[in-house]
Subunit: 223 residues, 2 copies
């Protein structure tokens, strides 16, 4: 098959692209890459991405790295309905506003909180530093509040109207990650809760399929 | 004038767009916005960007936020030579790889190091936490090394060949910021040093114009 997809479902952007490929019906060869020395840091994978990060696609020999770049490329190349990433210049600029904001505005605080509270203690056996939690937890809460009060401050189903865009998939997967540390961004944020439910329902059953590993780990953490 | 540009030259992405507008000859109305309560957190500015961040453009009433989104919009709308952000799909995907990587791959560590070592001590009068410096300094060094060994691992003048792209402006402005803390990424990285010199020379005199405030503050810090 011409399109190979390297991913790990523990990675938020990997899950966004996984759901995108499934929902849009793009055929791909699955290359699950377990994060760690034998996976994304293996000699074989570093040939594909010397930076050692998933997701990556190999489209008939053409390698594309970085989730936002991958999604834009797939929208251009694979005959995807326009609502996913509109070609019209102003609509595209509005989508880009969110997509470019979310890297440091949403992904960074949610992913760092997950890393500090869940991942690093499991790798090192050491407790997280309170000073670091104190820096990143408020940033994460502010980001979730901005989702509720600014980005979703309208009566539409999704971020940019009543059709899904690539922005929605990127957003929800970042918002799902801190569940591993027992944090649910939906609580006290009714618009965000309704929005996440809409994305999940619109992308069913792939949403649950993509999140099955973190859902399982989250339920184990509660025991 | 139809295009208004809100910026602060202390902000790396503001400087990237400033140089872009000047070099490409796009006419704009200058709206310098001093960072702080009277500037980007003022009631007037929050109407333009409720997130309270510069840069922002107002193109005849159409507001665009987020530097990468702004640059992509300007390339589409203002008849800019194609080399700045190529329309050809694969070339664009390669540029997107860098642009999307740099948010967390380059901007985050350089900007956080600057924030911890320079900005916060000046705002609070308190010394930075060693544990935080120990986290972000190695990330910054790794990013600079990746610039040297991966992104610039070719014999071309700029990141994507012998013509400037929007990726170059975004990159160099992040790399200039840690000079305020006495860190020069050029040292021990000959490709990066030659590259930054090429971007500066190609965009003269606007490069120095954009950096004049941080250059002055950096020289004051040395005294």
């Amino acid at each position: 098959m011409s399109l190979k997809f390297y991913y790990d479902l523990m990675s938020q952007p990997s899950r966004a692209i996984y759901v995108f490929l499934k929902v849009t019906g793009i055929k791909f060869e699955s290359k699950p890459t377990i994060l760690g020395k034998l996976g994304h840091k293996s000699e074989e994978f570093l040939k594909i991405n010397p930076i050692g990060q998933v997701p990556v696609i190999d489209d008939n020999g053409f390698i594309v790295r970085e989730s936002v770049g991958i999604l834009r490329y797939l929208c251009r190349e694979k005959g995807i309905p326009d609502h996913w990433y509109p070609k019209e210049s102003k609509a595209q600029a509005k989508l880009d506003e969110f997509i470019e904001w979310q890297h440091i505005g949403l992904r960074l605080p949610c992913a760092f909180y997950f890393k500090l509270k869940w991942l690093e203690p499991r790798l090192t056996g050491e407790k997280p530093l309170e000073s670091e939690i104190e820096r990143f937890q408020p940033l994460m809460l502010d980001s979730c509040d901005l989702m509720e009060t600014f980005w979703l401050n309208h009566n539409k189903k999704f971020l940019f109207g009543n059709h899904l865009t690539i922005a929605d998939l990127l957003a929800v997967m970042e918002l799902e990650q801190p569940k591993l540390c027992g944090f649910d961004p939906r609580q006290g944020r009714p618009r965000l809760a309704a929005y996440m439910a809409s994305v999940k329902s619109e992308t069913s059953p792939y949403y649950d399929e993509a999140n099955k590993i973190i859902d399982k780990l989250a339920s184990m953490s509660k025991l």
